[in-house]
Amino acid sequence: MANTDYRLQDLSQICSDHPTLPVKDRRDATYCFNCIVTDFQAQAYNVACRILYDRHLAEDAVQESLTSAYRSFGQFRGDNLRGWLMRIVTNNCRDMLRASRSRPSVPLDPVAADSELEDGSIAAAILPSREESPEEFAERSELRRTIKAGLAALPEERKMAIMLVDVEGFSYEEAATALDCSVGTIKSRISRGRRELRDFLRGAGELLPSVFRQEE
């Protein structure tokens, strides 16, 4: 979605599915901020979840990031809106991650630690399709955990680059904008990240598809 899709032609334009929240960028272009939120909130939340590994923290991070984006929208230059927005999200996630490391917390509810299956919404999202056997469901779940573990084992910069490009589908330029680095740096990080993640998945070959299993 191009940036022009979020612009308001005039102030009288009313969005249909959400309250119109007009904002102006540096070039005096008017946008509906709620349109931007509607389109990018899922990605922002996913990015926050994969960085923070905590849904509640990710929710707070996204809420704070969107509020900050609204307040500082006047600094937006009008290009690469997603990268600019994800940059705010990743910066907020880094700050929260740093704060959580300095002040570690333990959840009061022990069940919440594995809320992926306890939470109804989450369980519904990962429910296997009806064509999938229980063994396949278990294998897929285990593969997902392994991939998550592989991502968690990566350095933070490479993990973010892999996550933005391979998981979230960002382009190199958008990822470079989001991570505040050059495109070459993103390429290097992605290349090394993929190789390291592949090696990690090879180490857990029994849980991987046959293509990753070691040939005897």
Partner: protein, 561 residues
């Protein structure tokens, strides 16, 4: 790049770009050809593609809720209107903390180091004179409180028994601890006594001269107390030396010389003034040879103190007294019961506080300068200096040895002066060298050591190189007392006393205080400059303290409703 058998494998970066779809069509076709030819490259490419596929297959996290704003987020004034920040020089936080820490440390060290005076030059001229005057006054008062001897030459016929001398001796010794601590008192007392001729010299007969000094038991005598002692000796000196508050050596008077008639007159005048002054005691030495005792005309009370002290040293009084009593003494002796012990006590205190030895006669003959510490003080001859340590030996067995010829009497003042001279200038000489230059007293047998050590010293002084045990002990003076400064001359010692350099700790304290002050000053200056710059240009840092944009919230018709 990998090279196996001449085949150049595909670069991982190119493989990654291929997987990401960032290669051109030509590069993409070339890479696919290479991958078809090489199984390793193909496997590598497939593994990367599978990895990416797995990553893309990760299910998205479902949104817990919608983040769409129902209304415009509150643009809180506190959040939007941030205080203006200066983009120029910013004082780092550690600078304030460091400056505060240094300043605090400097203050703590300054407080803990004592007072300001600890790092000021010690022994200032006026301060020194005040101390000397106070000590002199104190000593003079003590000596003035001693009952004046009523006997004239010939009246001193008995040696002070040790049993009587000891009590007198112990009490002043106990008081002597506060001798140096006595507060400053007006100097007029001592001066007045001198002017009124209070210090009279009664003629006494000396059968045999024995100059004895007790080795001060308390070796922890402060060095500056030497000067007050010297000043304290002044009132007891001859009247003609009253203006010179220094030790007057009494050994200049020849033995067997009748006392001058002026002495009783002076004494009488002193009585008229109502001032009780210390009166000389007399060194009474038993005449072993049976010769009639000679009369020492000008012997001050200090001499008696020294003699009585020799007769009854503290802790060794019984033996000494017995030996003295056992020695026939036909001539007059000190009137011990009243005069001897107090004078002895005062002398002893002074000697103990000073740690000096009697001055040789030739030193006593020449008037000392006003200040001993000054460079103008004459140095004693080698003989005098070497003889002094011999005379300072006091041992429990006061064996009186006959002298070949009567010599001049060495008073305690003279011994003290000589001790000062010896300690300051000549103490570096080993005992053997001291014996090379026997003084006239030693040669003439005037100075009679008591006990083995003293005899050894006497032998050493007379040329027999017998080392004195205590004198050879390191860290001590030749007399066994704590050495003042073995390597310094008297002039140097005087200079040092007057202008002692601050210690290293004091210098460090001053340096630390200076550093702290400089640090605080620098920080204050930087803060001042910063405030000035902030007042001139209120530049803002973009993004953090932007000016509130009133048009940020557009007047939307829906929002207006």
């Amino acid at each position: 790049m990998w090279f196996f058998g001449g085949h150049r494998h595909l670069n991982e970066n190119r493989l990654s770009d291929y997987v990401s779809g960032r290669l051109t069509l030509a590069d993409r076709a070339r890479l696919e050809r290479t991958a078809d030819e090489c199984a390793t490259c193909r496997e590598e490419l497939e593994s990367l593609q599978q990895t990416r596929a797995l990553l893309q297959a990760l299910p998205p996290e479902p949104l817990p809720r919608s983040f769409v704003f129902a209304e415009a987020p509150a643009m809180a004034a506190a959040e939007v209107y941030r205080p203006t920040q200066v983009t120029g020089f910013r004082m780092p936080g550690w600078a304030y903390a460091g400056a505060a820490a240094v300043a605090g440390l400097a203050v703590i060290v300054f407080v803990l180091s004592g007072t300001v005076g600890t790092w000021l030059p010690r022994g200032d001229g006026e301060e020194f004179e005040a101390m000397a005057s106070a000590s002199a006054t104190e000593a003079t008062r003590e000596m003035a409180s001693i009952p004046r001897p009523t006997a004239m030459p010939g009246a001193f016929s008995e040696v002070q028994p040790a049993a009587q001398a000891a009590p007198f001796f112990e009490e002043p010794m106990a008081e002597s601890q506060g001798f140096a601590e006595s507060g400053p008192e007006p100097l007029e007392d001592a001066v007045g006594q001198r002017e009124t001729g209070a210090v009279a010299e009664a003629p006494v007969e000396v059968e045999k001269e024995v100059v004895v000094e007790r080795i001060v038991e308390t070796e922890t005598v402060a060095e500056p107390t030497a000067e007050p002692f010297v000043a304290a000796m002044a009132p007891a000196a001859a009247p003609e030396m009253a203006e010179e508050p220094r030790i007057m050596a009494m050994a200049e008077a020849p033995t067997s010389t009748p006392a001058p008639a002026a002495a009783p007159a002076q004494e009488a005048s002193a009585r008229e003034t109502g001032v009780e002054v210390p009166v000389e005691a007399e060194v009474i030495v038993p005449d072993v040879a049976g010769e009639p005792a000679a009369t020492e005309p000008t012997q001050p009370a200090l001499t008696a103190g020294a003699d009585a002290f020799a007769a009854a040293p503290a802790g060794e009084a019984p033996s000494s007294a017995e030996e003295v009593e056992a020695t026939p003494s036909p001539g007059p002796v000190v009137e011990g019961g009243k005069l001897g012990p107090p004078a002895l006590a005062a002398t002893e205190r002074s000697a103990a506080a000073l740690g000096v030895t009697p001055l040789p006669p030739e030193i006593a003959a020449s008037p000392l300068p006003k200040d001993v510490g000054q460079a103008a003080a004459p140095k004693p001859t080698l003989a005098a200096r070497t003889a002094t340590p011999v005379a300072t030996k006091t041992v429990p067995t006061p064996t009186v040895q006959p002298t070949a010829a009567p010599g001049p009497t060495m008073t305690l003042e003279a011994a003290a002066s000589a001790r000062i001279e010896t300690e300051a200038a000549g103490a570096t000489e080993p005992p053997g060298q001291e014996a090379e230059g026997p003084g006239p007293e030693a040669v003439a047998g005037v100075v009679e050591p008591r006990g083995p050590a003293g005899q050894a010293g006497a032998q050493s002084a007379t040329g027999a190189a017998v080392p004195t045990g205590d004198a050879a002990e390191p860290g001590r003076g030749s007399s066994g007392l704590p050495a003042m400064d073995e390597s310094a001359t008297m002039e140097e010692a005087g200079i040092r006393d007057q202008w002692a350099l601050p210690s290293a700790g004091n210098l460090a304290t001053v340096a630390l205080i200076a550093v702290g002050a400089v640090a605080v000053g620098v920080v204050a200056a930087l803060v001042f400059v910063r405030r000035i710059r902030a007042g001139r240009k209120g530049t803002t840092r973009p993004g953090t303290n932007q000016e509130p944009d009133a048009s940020l919230i557009v007047n939307h018709p829906r929002l207006e409703n």
